[in-house]
């Protein structure tokens, strides 16, 4: 289809305001939160309703035009990176909270609704939405769903997938289906909702999402403990969890990270080799008991200091320091490259040691801030883009860190997703058979591979519509995929 005609057809669906086609404007959408990859889309569309989304997708399907859905664009793996000659469907105008159902502990939202809005909406009723990615003040529920976002409190409360109860989805052929029970549990049939959440926008576009909300805990206690090094801090983590406590959060920062955060937001953290922030929540009596136990464990592991947040303000200060960690890196380095691998908790010590050795071998600094409770590392490889070759070196070091994590039984990504960024590593974690089997699901949802094509899988497979004469798929013609 000719570009002018496509623009006219999209305008007929969305009105002139809903279509962006000027190159300079398109440029603002060339990347998401991961700026290493940039592609200018053919067109950006801004639907306002589920019906708009459906019509746009149908048009794309009929014309064989690839499309990519985008929420707030905060993703860190290039999942919302546009495809060339494709349409970028931006969902930020679908931002209504459609229904609040306190008796059933559910909220129904459109995909562009910002994560924090959900908690704000139900706060007066004593509820909140548990998944809290660090981006929660800007990231959208639709994006969270696509990435199966985590957050600091998912150790106890689970991930997005444990809190999404139903979704209305526009499939890549423009048909609309409802998956998951929504208000009621256990919808009969395949767990299509569980398969859809975390599929990184490759199986369709959610246009209506039913979320579970959780009662605010009666009590919250937070402490900050300083240690000589990450190994001692790691010992405390094992001690706390080994004691049968499931903390709401356990976060660790190493000395380099503390230094950056201190420079940037001045939370007054102690100077130490490592600090832990531990938060417990739940029924008051239980929390108090377990909090005292947690303090003892920190002391037994030679904590040089244990600070207890006396009120919400002090707690907020602890978290401010933690949540500013990525942004604060700018104070000690021009650029950084972040990874998101996961290791089994008992491997943390060995992996951190190896990361530090790798840093020395490469002659580069690596700052560590991570979800210690679930072994989700965020090593930040610091570099200077202005020094020729440093960016490549940083990426190579980050890659070696990822391989180290895999060798220790871990995963490529705990919450950021594979997207464009990590698909090259997928064969290190999965066999060809594993990846082909995953793509069977892809073929059931998106036989023509027009929905966020090229993400997650290093070697896209075509789904082979067997009947009819053989026609080579354009992607295959270009040598980018093999037939399935």
């Amino acid at each position: 289809m000719q570009r002018d005609l496509l623009i006219r057809e999209m305008q007929a669906i969305l009105g002139p305001e809903g279509v962006i086609s000027e190159r300079e404007q398109l440029r603002s959408y060339e990347c998401d939160g991961l700026m290493n990859y940039r592609v200018i889309p053919e067109l950006v569309v801004l639907p306002e309703t589920a019906e708009h989304v459906q019509s746009v997708v149908k048009l794309c399907y009929n014309e064989g035009i690839p499309f990519v859905a985008r929420g707030s664009g905060t993703g860190l793996s290039g999942g919302a990176l546009p495809v060339e000659s494709g349409v970028l469907i931006v969902l930020s105008r679908l931002r209504r909270i459609l229904e609040v159902d306190i008796p059933n502990q559910r909220v129904i939202v459109e995909p562009g609704v910002i994560n924090i809005w959900v908690s704000q909406e139900v706060a007066d009723e004593g509820y909140y939405y548990a998944p809290d990615p660090a981006s929660q003040i800007v990231s959208s529920i639709g994006g969270n769903l696509a990435e199966n976002s985590g957050g600091v409190h998912c150790l106890k409360y689970g991930f997005t997938t444990n809190h999404v109860m139903g979704a209305e989805i526009v499939l890549p052929d423009g048909s609309m289906v409802n998956v998951g029970g929504g208000m009621a549990p256990d919808a009969p049939g395949y767990e299509l909702l569980g398969a859809f959440v975390g599929s990184e926008g490759t199986l369709g576009i959610a246009t209506k999402i039913t979320l579970r909300i959780v009662r605010k805990p009666e009590a919250v206690r937070t402490l900050l403990a300083a240690f000589k090094d990450t190994e001692e801090a790691g010992g405390a983590v094992s001690g706390i969890i080994g004691g049968g406590i499931v903390p709401a959060a356990i976060e660790m920062m190493d000395s380099l990270c503390i230094e950056a955060v201190e420079t940037a937001v001045h939370p007054g953290f102690p100077q130490a080799g490592a600090i832990l922030i531990v938060e417990l929540d739940g029924p008051a009596a239980e929390v108090e008991d377990q909090f005292q136990h947690t303090i003892r464990v920190c002391e037994e592991n030679d904590a040089s200091e244990v600070r207890i947040a006396e009120d919400d303000e002090e707690r907020a200060l602890f978290w401010k320091g933690r949540k500013a960690a990525f942004a604060a890196m700018g104070r000690i380095a021009n650029d950084y490259y972040v990874q998101d691998s996961v290791v089994p908790r008992t491997e943390l010590g060995a992996v951190l040691k190896r990361i530090s050795e790798l840093g020395s071998e490469y002659g580069m600094r690596v700052a560590n801030v991570f979800h210690a409770g679930d072994g989700n590392l965020h090593p930040l490889v610091l570099y200077d883009n202005d020094v020729p070759g440093e960016a490549e070196k940083a990426e190579a070091l980050a890659g070696d860190i990822v391989f180290t994590c895999l060798e220790h039984g871990g995963s490529l990504t705990g919450e950021h997703g594979i997207g464009e960024d990590k698909k090259k590593y997928m064969p290190k974690m999965f066999t060809t058979e594993d990846l082909d089997t995953m793509q069977l699901l892809r073929c059931a949802f998106d036989p023509h591979q027009i929905c966020n094509p090229g993400k997650i899988f290093p070697t896209p497979r075509l789904c082979g519509e067997r009947p009819g004469p053989f026609r080579m798929h354009p992607v295959q013609k270009a040598g980018l995929a093999e037939n399935f």
Binding site: I102, N178, G414, K422, M438
Partner: protein, 424 residues
């Protein structure tokens, strides 16, 4: 019912698993009256792969079987040639207590796994009623079985973090991993959860574990009517109590809501007190010293009765009770009811009356609760009943997509044909 076993001989199967692990089927191996030809017990994932290849090449219908405790779930098989029993694949492959994860072969009995994990003061946080009857972990995943504690820990789909499956064509594939937090690749472990053996054979599963609670207490209230059951359940759900289960018992003279509280001694004292106070305004409260609320079993079908599961929004508990009691009484059927009031799951056993009356009750309930966004599934019933009433009920807009998924994973339709939703 047709079987296509003329294509496969017992010797073919024995050549893969050894003579002693493949046999002609016995009458008790039948599923809903449909008799298979053979029962095979593979010893490894590689065995399963070879067996599946053989079955796929020769067009032989396959039904995976664990402890055999949910074989009545679903519609009667359209055909059945081979039962693949997981009984020999029962190892704990890996358990590092410090990581709070476990990797097991699917044929391990759930009770054996829990006993093993208890040695490290850990548990897999599900308590399906079939656990006491020899249910296997793979069977629980395939049937998506759950129990009272799903209120706190979720269902098995929330706890499974990795899976190894064997597809119809013999392909061995895994997804997920052995870390709790992991978003690499599609979550096929969830897709296979509750798929009733229609997408592939589940060979291994990885789960996240929870610490075993130190102690438990149950607070129960006797209720005068259905409205107070709904109100009592709601009052607990919105209170500062963090129960592990909120259960309903509605059987003859027993009409109660029971709240299970787990944790450390100091914690449950305070919570039990709060729960007693809240429930006290609905009826007489009793406190039980153990986890009695966790031990109620859904009513079965009995000799010729029917067992169904109603899923509905949890706030509509009174409506579920009223509709069930109303339809049963009008049609002369006797209901026994239990349920997970906190999560909106109600189990109903129907006895008495004739088959037409029991079918009438199920159809009426299905009509009501489908309209309200829920579902009514026949869990157990004689084959004749299943011919009158389809086991799962309609699945709406999901049907086409469901069929496409099935077709991609099992293009020849050899896996449990006919038993699952939409007759797939």
């Amino acid at each position: 019912m047709a079987t296509r076993t003329e294509n496969v001989s017992l010797e073919d199967l024995q050549s893969i698993v050894g003579e002693e692990h493949a046999r002609e089927a016995a009458p008790e191996d039948a599923i809903d009256g449909v008799a298979p030809s053979f029962v095979v017990e593979p010893g490894s994932t590689e065995d399963v792969s070879e067996l599946m290849k053989l079955a796929n090449d020769r067009n032989l219908a396959v039904a995976p079987r664990g402890g055999g405790t949910s074989m009545s779930l679903g519609n009667p098989p359209r055909e059945l040639g081979l039962i693949l029993s997981t009984s020999r694949m029962d190892a704990v492959v890996e358990h590092v207590p410090g990581d709070q994860v476990v990797r097991v072969q699917s044929g391990i009995r759930f009770a054996d796994l829990q006993a093993r994990l208890a040695e490290s003061d850990q548990m897999l946080g599900v308590d399906p009623p079939e656990a006491g009857n020899g249910a296997t972990v793979g069977g629980i995943v395939a049937a998506n079985s759950s129990g009272p504690k799903r209120y706190r820990y979720g269902t098995i789909r929330d706890l499974i973090i990795g899976i190894t499956v064997v597809l119809a064509d013999g392909t061995v594939a895994k997804a997920g991993g052995k870390v709790v937090k992991n978003v690499a690749g599609y979550d096929l472990a969830k897709l296979f959860t509750g798929s009733l053996g229609t997408l592939g054979f589940i060979a291994e599963c990885n789960f996240r574990l929870h610490p075993r609670p130190e102690t438990a207490r149950t607070v129960a209230v006797e209720l005068p009517d259905t409205a107070s059951a709904g109100a009592a359940s709601q009052a607990i759900l919105h209170a500062q109590v963090v129960p592990s289960a909120v259960e309903l018992l509605w059987d003859g003279e027993t009409r109660m809501i029971a709240v299970l509280i787990e944790g450390i001694p100091s914690g449950i004292e305070a919570q039990a007190e709060t729960a007693s106070h809240i429930l006290g305004s609905f009826g007489e409260v009793s406190t039980l010293g153990d986890d009695e609320a966790g031990s109620s079993s859904p009513p079965g079908a009995g000799d010729d009765g029917v067992a169904v599961k109603i899923s509905a929004p949890p706030a509509e508990l009174a409506g579920v009770l009223d509709s069930t009691l109303g339809a049963s009484s009008r049609l002369g059927v006797t209901p026994r009811i239990t349920g997970h009031a906190g999560t909106g799951v109600t189990y109903v056993g129907l006895s008495g009356g004739d088959e037409g009356a029991r079918a009438g009750v199920v159809e009426e309930l299905r009509e009501i609760w489908l309209r309200r966004g829920g579902s009514v599934v026949v869990r157990e019933a004689p084959p004749a009943f299943k011919e009158r009433v389809e086991a799962w009920g309609p699945i709406g807009t999901r049907l086409d997509l469901t069929r496409r998924v099935k077709e991609k994973f099992d293009p020849r339709g050899i896996l449990n044909p006919g038993r699952f939703v939409g007759g797939i």
